[in-house]
């Protein structure tokens, strides 16, 4: 991989770290006893997970009638959560694949956890695919499996089937990509391992990595190929998710703008989620030197750009609803803004369109606290976006006699909590047992390396630790 770094760029890793420091700083979390902060955080996640699992178990046992859905509103929190989590996942892929292809070096310290986040988010999304089914034990019928029902296959016309393909492809590619990227770092941990168990496990998962030039060369190829495969997924997955709505006949869903609008929204929310997580991780694991203000600022800029795209999409929808002259669509949008769910709509508008615009001020986009708050606000807004699209379109569609309200129950909330529990439990397990920052890539972008020793760029990994500082 090319290690040319523009000299005008700010340093990506601060604190005058040496390669050894990098290895130490990051492996410390994996090798040492869990820190108190981690124990607390993991304990809380497990509790949340357990409560959520109870709610989900109850939902499955009793039937999804325990939710607040009704004859008119057939999807609400379930699909809102699904789309929200899938959207969040997009940032990981974007950072690791697209930014890799565009040679954005600043991504190196965040891509590992962003990819992990992708996978966990997609798992959370998948949990809602299962949970929202009336008969989840028959979920495999949505797969085109050979069966004994004659030639009974899935309905290839159905966007839900496309969804199944899109999500499963996305999950598998993301998983492979993430794992491939982990291999060199796993080998590092293996080499440093003190206990038999960790030697065995990290050894097994590092797939016999030996750090030879040939291995590295192959690694680079595989990375590029996987990045190439992943890149269209960034666009396709949420495009297909948006088609769940766009191909329907329901006013507010039946909208051709949805694919780009959903993709932008997904990246928007994904970056916000990465931002939130990293701001926590950098404090908990003391990684301020790796995740710098520069990173935070870059992320905020992307959030502002995608937020603005989303804002334009909102306005376009309104314009088209008026311009088309379709009675039902016009009403749908008037109802969104002024009907019984007006608060959800304005919540969405404020969080997604107004709040990211604050990042035009340098002071704000470089403030850690404000960045954190706004990243959470953006994700709240994006959740409401999906809620607004799903519920406010369904609850008042064509036939006024069926108009109804949706009110969540404790199980709607509990099952959402479940996904948080799942996500954070997995994330903290990841943070404890795997290197949260891509060590070898970070090493490649350290300022000292490229400016002071431009001709030694081939040196990498463990070998370089003696030569530098």
């Amino acid at each position: 991989m090319s290690h040319v770094v523009s000299p005008i760029r700010e340093t990506l890793v601060s604190g005058g770290k040496s390669y050894h420091d990098v290895t130490n700083d990051i492996c410390k979390q994996v090798e040492g006893e869990p820190t108190k902060e981690w124990k607390i955080a993991f304990g809380v996640s497990c509790l949340v997970f357990a409560y959520g699992a109870y709610c989900l178990g109850y939902t499955w046992w009793q039937g999804i009638g325990v939710w607040g859905l009704n004859k008119t509103v057939g999807w609400a929190w379930d699909i809102t959560n699904f789309v929200w989590w899938v959207g969040i996942g997009h940032a990981g892929t974007l950072i690791s694949a697209v930014l890799l292809l565009f040679r954005q070096k600043w991504r190196t310290s965040i891509n590992r956890s962003a990819e992990a986040m992708t996978i966990f988010a997609v798992l959370c999304a998948a949990s809602f695919i299962l949970a929202h089914m009336g008969r989840p034990w028959l979920f495999h019928w949505a797969l085109p499996l050979p069966n004994t029902f004659g030639s009974l296959w899935v309905n290839f016309n159905s966007p839900l089937v496309w969804d199944v393909f899109a999500i499963s492809t996305y999950l598998s590619v993301s998983l492979v990509f993430w794992y491939m990227g982990l291999v060199p770092d796993l080998a590092t941990i293996r080499d440093r391992a003190q206990t038999k168990a960790s030697k065995f496990w990290y050894g097994a998962f590092s797939l016999g990595w030996n750090g030879s030039a040939k291995t590295w060369a192959r690694y680079e190829y595989v990375s590029l190929i996987l990045a190439g495969i992943s890149t269209p997924l960034v666009l396709s997955v949420h495009t297909i998710v948006s088609m769940d709505f766009a191909t329907s006949v329901i006013p507010g869903w039946h909208t051709t703008i949805f694919p780009p609008y959903f993709v932008a929204g997904a990246i928007f929310s994904g970056f916000a989620m990465v931002q939130s997580l990293l701001l926590i991780t950098r404090v908990v694991f003391k990684l301020e030197d790796y995740i710098t203000i520069e990173h935070i600022e870059m992320m905020n800029i992307i959030i502002t750009v995608t937020g603005s795209i989303v804002g334009i999409a909102y306005l376009t929808e309104f314009f088209i609803a008026w311009y088309s002259g379709v009675e039902y669509e016009s009403y749908c949008f008037i109802n969104r803004a002024t009907g019984p769910y007006w608060w959800a709509y304005w919540m969405m508008m404020t969080c997604n369109v107004v709040s990211p615009q604050l990042f035009w001020f340098k002071k704000i986009r470089t403030s850690i606290l404000v960045s954190f708050i706004l990243s959470v606000v953006v994700n709240v807004g994006m959740w409401f976006e999906r809620f607004v699209i799903i519920v406010s379109s369904l609850h008042r569609d064509y036939i006024p006699s069926s108009w109804a309200m949706f009110t969540p129950t404790m199980y709607d909330i509990g099952d959402y909590i479940f996904s948080f529990g799942l996500f954070f439990t997995l994330f903290f397990l990841f943070a404890k047992f795997l290197p949260v920052i891509n060590m070898f890539e970070v090493k490649s972008v350290m300022k000292g390396v490229s400016t002071n020793y431009p001709y030694k760029k081939k040196s990498s990994g463990e070998k370089s630790k003696e030569t530098v500082h």
């Binding site: 039937g63 057939g74 159905s158 009675e327």
Partner: protein, 1028 residues
């Protein structure tokens, strides 16, 4: 393995059992070279060698596995001796009669394997003409009500009939011996033979008197008509004026009247087709089902009722030259117009009044006499027997009971403690009566206070006859033997009178005598009816008009700003006699769309005045209604079209001892009824107060949004004069601009659509004749095993009804004012729109199902494969009509849904041709595909095409006004094809046509016989903005 005793023939040889076969029968492989016959020994284990061990093991394992695979069969008991006429899977039909007090219908009972599972109308009857109300449709479920008495009980403990008979005969003897008074308290008895039985009883115990009362009494009407209840024939009327009579919903014989009324409302767009309609004026306090269907509707307060009638009389008298009688003038909108129309269609006019005040009814008789209605629209010669109750007699009885003058009382299917305003007094007086017997089917409010409960059988278990109209007879025959140890009251009375208690023979003897032979008797039983007619001549009752005017002047006030109470009957619940029927509890009332309880209804202006406010689609508040010191707490509903300063409460609720579906649901309004001129008045003009309790309350409503939001593609309507000029008046025809100019939205498509080479099933629903009565809803429930989900699930908006009737109120707001459109007018126009799966040809549900659980049939049906459904609900979301219903829970065999599907007895009502849906699957109208298949099979067996009308879907079959036409649109001579051929160029439209889902169900534009508004005329055929 012991159970595995099935015997199969190994081949045709074994079947013929030839001697050659017998010889070799023990050899499994015939002449195969088996060295030694060790087959059996092998299995027995007596000669198992090492090499056979695995064979035996394998056989054993697979045999056990196969035996285990057999599905458990619960309680399927085969016939020991199969009855000759019962074929499994083939339905048997029996003609019978539904009678509940004065409610009557001639029915056909469908039985499967000996279980009655559905009642349908008997079209042979010239009285009910095949029309059934929602209550009759639901009555089959009451047969399987687990909370009925399962046998005799004496003072609360169960005993056998012999003991009870012995004790009762002894007690009756004692009472009779000391000359004590005996009373049989009953609702209207339609059966002449039952009356004869009572006569026999009276002959034995001469101090016995029959006291007849009706919970929904019309004794005032009977008094004013000289002691009879005339037949009304709305079909001959050109002008119909109803003053508080809900004749399409609840008044006397609503299904009959609805059929007649619909005849005057059915128009045809063909050249030369009928384009005349009756004009229907309704004056009333609440928005009744009838008022909702009227052309002109005005409100009055209960205290004005008499004066409305006198004002109408004077207006008519002044026009036809009769003598006006002075009375206080009352200002009611449209009253003069109504009078003018009545006079102009003299001879084809009818005025009916729901009042129970004889003086008011006397004036109505005089009006009808002035209009020449007697002999045309009113036939007093062929009087009906529907209401024979006398409020005066009942009041006398209660007073006698209070005074301790009654020695014995038999309540014959009467529950006065609940459904009479003097019920509380009667309950207190009952202990003073030495012998109390109740024959009610359950230990209800009255029965539980009686010593002896000798339960009567359900009508589907009984023999009986009925004479709903003089000279028109109808018969009831049992379709199942008694489920519990019940006995017909006629048998009981005969037994207690010391006669042979075999009522079936009694009835047969009575009728073979009349008809002249057993064959004739069998024939009338088979037909269910016998209609020789009476043909009595009749003169118009002589009226004491002046006295009536004087009485009205005394009892009514032209203006009152006091709060008044109106008591009304719900179309679905009626008097509450079938309150424990879950189908009825869950069936929404046509106008308010509320079920599972009653509520206090007020107009919007009154609600504002009282400081109550109800937001659209949200919870409501609880109010306390205090009437002369008695009070109830109920949720309140804003009811558009109700008279201001009135509050209305329905009867039929607040049962305490009817069973788990009815107990504690709503509040009892009977005690609030007042008395005018000795008759019970369902209103109270005394001290009525309504105040908020501060609590919120919920009402189970299947529809919470009241207006159609000016959506012309959903509901289309016009006025008669516009229709006469242009048969397409009121039609909304969406167009789309294309490169080739404007095109009709439905003409554009990317594909050629489905081809139907054989049948193409479809339906046409006439919005002009649909009264919203909900008979189709209950019929659909019973036919298709639709789960009852209970009050809370309806509040959660999850009722499972496949067929629903949408009701929309008009709004005064401008079409652009989407907020204002949410609110109904003060006195809105109403439209009913039955809504069910539209069986779209471009069905949005079909494309989105991931697993192909919903697909299109080759006959145009959108079909649902429950077994394949995984419950994503995508289809329901994508259904523009929102007719799909999801099984949120397992609604059968689950304690939370303790209705008919939660006990073995209730499940007897299940239609075996229709799957009971499990949790997590979607369901919806199948267009009674089981009936279509059955009809096709029947035709196929006879090697012919199905004939039109042979296959009827449940909703179309049950419609009292024939508003629904079902049939094969590929069959050129079918009724539906002929209708559509005409109406495609006239009134036919598809709901939300412009989204081009191409529904197989068409609606016909609703036409009101009103003066047209100027604005409407300009838009006779509306060209609209483009729809993309």
């Amino acid at each position: 393995m012991e159970n595995n005793k099935k015997r199969y023939w190994r081949g045709i040889e074994e079947l013929t059992n030839s001697s050659e076969f017998v010889k070799h029968a023990h050899r499994e492989f015939g002449d195969a070279p088996t060295a030694d016959d060790k087959g059996e020994a092998l299995i027995d284990g007596t000669n198992t060698v090492r090499r056979d061990f695995l064979k035996v093991l394998g056989f054993g394992v697979s045999a056990v596995a196969l035996a285990a695979c057999e599905a458990p069969i619960k309680k399927a008991i085969p016939y020991l001796n199969k009855p000759e006429d019962v074929e499994p899977t083939i339905a048997n039909w029996y003609a019978s009669s539904f009678v509940d007090g004065g409610d009557y219908a001639s029915v056909l009972v469908k039985t499967r394997e000996g279980r009655p599972i559905k009642v349908e109308g008997n079209k042979a009857s010239s009285i009910s003409k095949g029309a059934l109300s929602a209550r009759v449709q639901a009555s089959v479920l009451s047969l399987y009500d687990n909370e009925k008495l399962k046998g005799v009980s004496i003072a609360g403990s169960s005993k056998d009939w012999a003991t009870a008979d012995k004790e009762i005969i002894a007690e009756l003897g004692k009472v009779a011996a000391r000359g004590g008074q005996i009373r049989i308290v009953s609702n209207t008895i339609l059966s002449p033979t039952t009356k004869k039985v009572i006569g026999d009883f009276i002959a034995k115990y001469p101090t016995t008197k029959l006291v007849t009362y009706d919970a929904n009494s019309v004794s005032g009407l009977v008094q004013a008509n000289g002691g009879i209840l005339p037949s009304f024939d709305f079909s001959k009327a050109k002008t119909i004026v109803s003053i508080g009579a809900d004749f399409l919903g609840t008044w006397i014989a609503p299904t009959e009247y609805a059929g007649q009324w619909a005849k005057t409302r059915r128009v045809n767009s063909a050249e030369g087709g009928n384009k005349e309609m009756s004009r229907h004026y309704q004056f009333e306090t609440i928005m009744s089902n009838t008022g909702a269907n009227a052309d002109y509707r005005s409100t009055y307060k209960p205290s004005q009722e008499g004066l409305v009638v006198t004002a109408l009389y004077n207006a008519i008298a002044s026009k036809v030259g009769g003598a006006a009688i002075s009375s206080a003038s009352v200002k009611i909108e449209h009253l003069d117009k109504a009078a003018a129309d009545l006079v102009s269609t003299k001879g084809a006019s009818i005025v009916v009044s729901g009042s129970n005040d004889p003086s008011v009814q006397t004036v109505v008789v005089a009006i009808n006499a002035l209009l020449g209605a007697y002999g045309t629209t009113i036939d007093a010669g062929n009087a009906v027997n529907y209401r024979q109750g006398s409020d005066a007699e009942m009041t006398t009885f209660i007073n006698e009971a209070k005074a301790g003058q009654i020695g014995a009382v038999i309540f014959y299917n009467a529950n006065p403690v609940y459904n009479h305003p003097g019920g509380a007094e009667l309950a207190e007086a009952l202990p003073k009566i030495g012998l109390t017997i109740s024959t009610n089917d359950r230990s209800d409010e009255t029965g539980s206070l009686c010593k002896y409960n000798t339960p009567d059988s359900h009508y589907l278990e009984s023999w009986n006859d009925a004479e709903p109209k003089r000279g028109f007879y109808s018969f009831t025959q049992p379709t199942i033997s008694t489920i519990f140890k019940t006995r017909q009251t006629q048998s009981s009375l005969l037994t207690w009178a010391g006669l042979n208690g075999d009522y079936a023979t009694y009835l047969e003897n009575a009728w073979t005598g009349t008809l002249g032979g057993k064959t004739a008797w069998s024939k009338v039983l088979h037909d269910g009816i016998y209609e020789p007619g009476a043909g009595v001549s009749f003169s118009v009752p002589q009226t004491g008009l002046a006295d009536s005017f004087a009485s009205i002047a005394k009892n009514y006030k032209a203006n009152s700003d006091k709060m008044e109470l109106a008591i009304y009957e719900k179309v679905t619940m009626g008097t509450g006699s079938q309150a424990n029927n879950p189908y009825l509890q869950e069936c929404p009332e046509p106008v308010s769309k509320a079920c599972w309880g009653n509520y206090a209804m007020v107009s919007l202006a009154t609600a504002k005045k009282l400081g109550l406010d109800q937001e659209v689609e949200l919870d409501t508040l609880e109010v306390e209604v205090v009437v002369n010191g008695k009070s109830v707490k109920l949720p309140f509903i804003v009811q558009p079209g109700q008279a201001n300063d009135t509050v209305a409460i329905a009867i039929g609720y607040g049962r305490t001892k009817a069973g788990k579906s009815a107990n504690g649901v709503g509040a009892n309004a009977y005690p609030f009824a007042s008395v005018i001129n000795g008759n019970i008045a369902f209103s109270n003009t005394g001290d009525v107060q309504v105040k908020a309790t501060g609590e919120t309350a919920k009402i189970a409503r299947t529809q919470t949004h009241n207006t159609v939001m000016a959506r012309e593609s959903v509901v289309q309507e016009t006025v008669l004069s516009a229709y006469k000029k242009n048969v397409e008046a009121g039609r909304f025809k969406p167009t789309v601009s294309t490169a080739e100019g404007k095109k009709t939205a439905t003409d554009l498509s990317l594909w050629n659509g489905h081809k139907y080479n054989n049948h193409a099933w479809g339906m046409v629903i006439d919005l002009n004749t649909c009264t919203g009565c909900a008979a189709c809803v209950v019929s659909c429930n019973a036919e298709n095993n639709i789960a009852v989900v209970g009050r809370q699930e309806v509040i959660n908006r999850r009722e499972m009804h496949w067929m629903r009737i949408d009701r929309y109120y008009s709004s005064d707001a401008d079409v652009e004012d989407v907020k204002g459109l949410e609110y109904a007018s003060e006195n809105p126009e109403v439209v009913f729109q039955p809504m069910l799966c539209q069986h779209c040809n471009n069905a949005p549900c079909e494309t989105v199902c991931p697993v192909l659980a919903t697909t299109h049939s080759t006959e145009g049906l959108n079909q649902m494969t429950y077994n394949r459904c995984i419950g994503t609900r995508y289809c329901a979301n994508n259904c523009p009509y929102k007719v799909r219903r999801f099984n949120w829970f397992r609604y059968y065999q689950t304690d939370e849904y303790d209705f008919q599907f939660n006990n073995d007895l209730g499940r007897m009502v299940i239609n075996p041709d229709v799957t009971v849906r499990s949790r997590g699957v979607m369901e919806k109208c199948s267009m009674c595909v089981q009936r279509i298949q059955a009809g096709k099979l029947e035709a196929k067996k006879e090697k012919r095409r199905p004939k039109d009308g042979e296959i009827q879907v449940a909703c179309a079959q049950s419609c009292p006004t024939n508003a629904i036409t079902f049939g094969d649109m590929n069959d050129e001579v079918s009724e539906i094809s002929k209708l559509l051929a005409v109406e495609h160029k006239g009134r036919a439209f598809g709901v939300i046509e412009e989204i081009n889902v191409k529904p197989n169900i068409s609606y016909l534009v609703k036409i009101r016989n009103k003066e047209e508004k100027v604005k409407k005329e300009e838009e006779a055929v509306v060209e609209h903005k483009e729809h993309a």
